[in-house]
């Protein structure tokens, strides 16, 4: 990633979109819209002082919404370019409120609220589409109740929980517990405010609120307006304090997730959604189970799948190692339903096809291995490029020319063409580079030698 940012032959245009493509192989004219970041790319050093001071917190897309970032942000800590971006949907200044804190903070003078989109025209010989994929949205599957049950996550969300740089610093905190902790935080903030108010009264009347309130309830000071206000505030305080203490007590018993279920083929190999196999999800689940076990070695995982497709180099061995060393068991069967058990624990109901029994089991957390599906922008992009898609909206290629599209001079690689894992993507990326280079580099005139 760093090499890309630094390479003298690569001009990087992040936060940009393709608007128009004209011409043909060897001679394309491409119009690119460079979206306004409201931050001067040349001046921003990526130090992050602005984001530290920004008062607006928003859900962090990079952390799949599990954490928060500020309205001015770098997409992720090691992102290239490190240029920050203002989110126009949430920035106070851009929404007519008084703020501009980032501008005052920035010592590089990079903030520019008047920035406009830039239109750039490029003349290129060939185009490589590496537009990637989207993760299937499992809320479409009613029986898995993804949107209702807090402790049912997607594989990518789980990935962020495992990450040391993620929202939980790599701990498998349950989302239901995190919600309680967030509530505690919010109540503590309220309590703080309330306490400060009470302190004012306590100072004024030189008495503790508690003592005063006992007397007040006995009927003393019934006609004192100021003291009535004090009493009301104290009642408010108690009304927050009681649930807060209950929640805090509850939070004492919170533990990380240790009983994990992984459900394969969520949205894939499913006629209601996508009939194809995404190829990498079985291995992804095994990896996540192995890493979770590395984090806490009493973790147990069950992987529910039809076929466990460990088809790459070293994959089958990895799968077996996971079973032997990482407390993973593999269950051949499709999960029929996920329901709510005690303490927000999801309960998985499945058919064990080897035992020919329908069973239910309670887990701390359920992880859905969601399908790799065509990216949402691909239809529009294909239209702009004149490129043909297959019936699922992956870019159409042939097995004999795996990176050539129907348009000469336009190539495709990675998951834009079909789901595949990282080494296949890397290999295809080089293939596409090869095909593009055949157009871009004039043929070398090297003397032929006969041996």
């Amino acid at each position: 990633m760093l090499d890309v940012g630094r390479h003298p032959n690569i001009s990087l245009m992040a936060y940009s979109e393709i608007e128009k493509v004209e011409g043909h192989e060897g001679n394309f004219t491409v119009t690119v819209r460079r979206k306004k970041r409201y931050v001067d790319e040349a001046k921003c050093t990526g130090c992050g002082a602005c984001a530290e001071k920004c008062p607006t917190s928003v859900p962090d897309a990079f952390n799949t919404g599990l954490g928060t970032r500020k309205a001015i942000y770098s997409y992720f800590a090691q992102g290239i370019p490190s240029t920050h971006t203002i989110d126009p949907d949430f920035c106070r200044q851009l929404n007519g409120k008084k703020c501009g804190i980032c501008q005052k903070t920035c010592q590089a003078d990079a903030i520019d609220f008047d920035q406009e989109d830039k239109i750039v025209e490029l003349d290129v010989a060939g185009i490589i589409i590496a537009a990637g994929y989207d993760v299937f949205d499992p809320s479409q599957i009613p029986e898995y109740r993804y949107s209702e049950l807090p402790n049912v996550l997607t594989a990518l969300e789980f990935e962020r929980l495992l990450s040391a740089s993620g929202p939980t610093d790599g701990h498998l905190d349950l989302p239901s517990d995190r919600a309680v902790e967030a509530e505690i935080k919010a109540l503590e903030k309220k309590i703080g405010k309330s306490k400060r108010m009470l302190e004012k009264f306590e100072k004024k009347f030189d008495e503790s609120s508690k003592q005063f309130y006992e007397k007040y309830n006995k009927g003393d000071y019934s006609d004192d307006k100021d003291r009535k206000k004090w009493a009301d505030k104290y009642a408010e305080y108690l009304a927050i304090m009681e649930p807060l203490e209950d929640l805090k007590k509850k939070a004492e018993s919170f533990t990380t997730a240790k009983r994990l279920a992984f459900i394969q083929c969520v949205g894939s190999r499913d006629f209601r959604f996508y009939p194809f196999c995404s190829g990498y999800c079985c291995m992804h689940s095994i990896k996540e189970a192995i890493i979770a076990h590395e984090h806490e070695n009493e973790t147990t995982s069950r992987i529910f799948g039809m076929d466990i497709r460990a088809i790459g180099k070293g994959f089958e061995e990895y799968k077996i190692r996971g079973g032997n060393n990482s407390n993973i068991t593999y269950v051949r069967g499709r999960v029929g339903e996920i329901s709510q058990g005690p303490n927000n624990n999801p309960v998985v109901t499945y058919e064990d096809t080897h035992e020919r029994l329908v069973k239910s089991q309670e887990f701390d957390m359920v992880i859905l291995a969601t399908a790799c599906v065509p990216t949402i922008g691909i239809i529009e992009l294909a239209k702009i490029l004149g490129v043909e898609l297959d019936k699922y909206n992956f870019i159409k290629t042939s097995p004999f020319s795996p990176v050539d599209t129907n348009v000469p001079g336009i190539f495709a690689c990675g998951c834009a063409g079909a789901p595949m894992d990282v080494p296949e993507s890397v290999a295809q990326a080089s293939s596409a580079a090869e095909r593009a280079a055949e157009i871009a580099i004039q043929l070398r005139q090297v003397q032929n030698v006969q041996f």
Binding site: P8, N9, V124, I129, A432, I441
Partner: protein, 55 residues
Amino acid sequence: MNKDILVIGGGIAGMQSSLDLADMGVKVHLVEKLPSIGGKMAQLDKTFPTNDCAI
């Protein structure tokens, strides 16, 4: 005749294509929709089967 190449997408595939071409001496324009390149792989904690870091 133009000599540059446009790569659409800054995930692992787009980055690898760009690097190969750039190393061959071809000028590459890499366009990414999001604020930073890296794609899905940057979101992964570690990768199978070697459990190496993703970035």
